[in-house]
């Protein structure tokens, strides 16, 4: 199945990945090959088969609603690329 360069550009934006023209040129045919490969799944009739999301099919595990330790503000900010004493600092959402 053909995947267009425009489709790949759109996917890259959805994935929040800036890809160079070279990368787009490489990845587009690779995506086509991989999609063609996984299309093998379409050979199987899976009507009525319950999807298996997880290897351990647990229902909710509950924990007591008790106050516990959590990261300190200092710890939470320690790996931030930019922060002040209280908050993560990020570029503005709007230009």
């Amino acid at each position: 199945m053909a995947i267009s360069l425009d489709q790949v550009r759109k996917l890259a934006l959805m994935a929040r990945l800036e890809l160079s023209d070279d990368e787009l040129g490489t990845i587009t045919p690779q995506l086509e090959d991989i999609v063609a490969f996984v299309d093998k799944l379409m050979e199987l009739d899976t009507d009525g088969i319950e999807p298996m999301v997880h290897a351990v099919e647990t229902v909710n595990r509950w924990v007591p609603d008790q106050l516990g330790d959590s990261l300190s503000r200092e710890q939470a900010l320690a790996n931030a690329p930019n922060h002040d004493e209280e908050c993560f600092l990020v570029p503005p959402v709007m230009g």
Binding site: I3, V8, L11, A12, L13, M14, A15, R16, L17, E18, L19, S20, E23, T26, I27, Q30, L31, D33, I34, V35, F37, V38, D39, K40, L41, M42, L44, T46, I49, E50, P51, M52, V53, H54, A55, V56, T58, R61, V63, L71, Q75, A76, A78, N79, A80, P81, N82, F88, V90, P91, P92, V93, M94, G95
Partner: protein, 493 residues
Amino acid sequence: MTIPLDSAAKLLGLLASGELTARQATQASLDRIAATDPEVGAFTFVNTEAALAAADSIDQRRRDGQPLGALAGVPIAVKDVLCTTDMPTTCSSRMLEKHMSPYDATVVARLRAADAVIVGKTNMDEFAMGASTETSAFGKTTNPWNPSLTPGGSSGGAAACVAAGDVPLSLGSDTGGSIRQPAAFCGITGLKPTYGRVSRYGLIAFASSLDQVGPMAFDAVDCATLLNAIAGVDASDSTSLPVETPDFTAGLDRIEGELRIGIVKHHLEAEGLDPEVRQAVDDAIEVFRDAGAKIVEVELPHSDYWVPTYYVIAPSEASSNLSRYDGAHYGHRSPVAASEAGDRGPLVATYCRSRGEAFGAEVKRRIMIGMYALSAGYGDKYYVKALQVRRLIRQDFDSAFQNVDLLLGPVTPTPPFAMGEKIDDPLQMYLCDLFTVGANLAGIPALSMPGGLTSNNLPIGIQLQAPPLQEAKLLQAAAAFQRATDWHTKRPL
């Protein structure tokens, strides 16, 4: 005295008898790393001072007669996908190049509680995506058996540091074969436990429903000792199993009852299976037959669909898990001038550039596959379909295990391959997981053990798989095989 860095059991004996101190064992490990790592490149970080301080503390407590943990004084390395407070946790990615975790992974905390000495973090394919440890941002790891070959992946560093004789034990992680395939390529023993047997808290997620931490060592006995230290329910991981943890080292000197071993003929006739790998599997069948096991042919009718199913589910989960790397809270952030932001706005432009700069080609490829498989119009076609096939695959295993205790077969289609041989051909790289991904999709335990050498003196692995929570049976069978053969004692020349 030669310090036996190839056996945790021997080290523990010498440490307990006082013939060896933890400092001596640790120093020997550090010296060996200094000698081998310039060529092998198994480590992303060596924690010299902290390891020696931990060893001294263990020695002092031993002198004082205080109780010590089950791994007291044994040097161990952990894959750099596991969070540690005293060493960077990078996932071999520029994205997390200097990342210091504020907490230890549960398995790391359990190693510390067992008084193991953590000497360093090991190299891996970036975010555990790869089968050759060539996608690390911090340089390739080579195979100690031959530096022109890959050690396998993604736990290539964790396997290579054991094979090189740096440490007797290491921890890897296995999402589609990432413990078993490098164990096979490096001639060691590696176990992917049942999904949920070992906590994933602090294991940086690649594909959450498939990832599992597990032990790597020269033999099954050492794997069992390490599994004892890390297994068990964890309140911090809601998917860890609330089941009893047996003593995996108990009963390794015998096999209880009649052992029925299943062979999947379809796998042994697979296109691309190397004749020497096939021969090693045939030889292993004879070893078990001679030991009294009953050999039974079984079918896994959907095994041709394992790899396509995996390459929808794993990238889908990865594209979601890796969305957390946005350069806002932690990780690499690229500056973007306001004039460059365009319609996206400065924040989204920063996300896009940061991720574009810091992720490598394989990670980007898998995010894109996952984004495609989950996108509107394709979610049902690919993702839901793959989940339905996953159930058929699990049902195949359940049916097979009604007739046999274990399955035996190849780990990899080929012996170790050359650096660069598959790196530009993603589909060829993905087919390295041909025989291993089924266990991850089904959540069952699986083990790789040395089962032969090629005519070029390269290791060949044999895989055993078992029903959920039957690690003890797997380890018993592997220990029996290792009593009957000496492949696990072979070392790189």
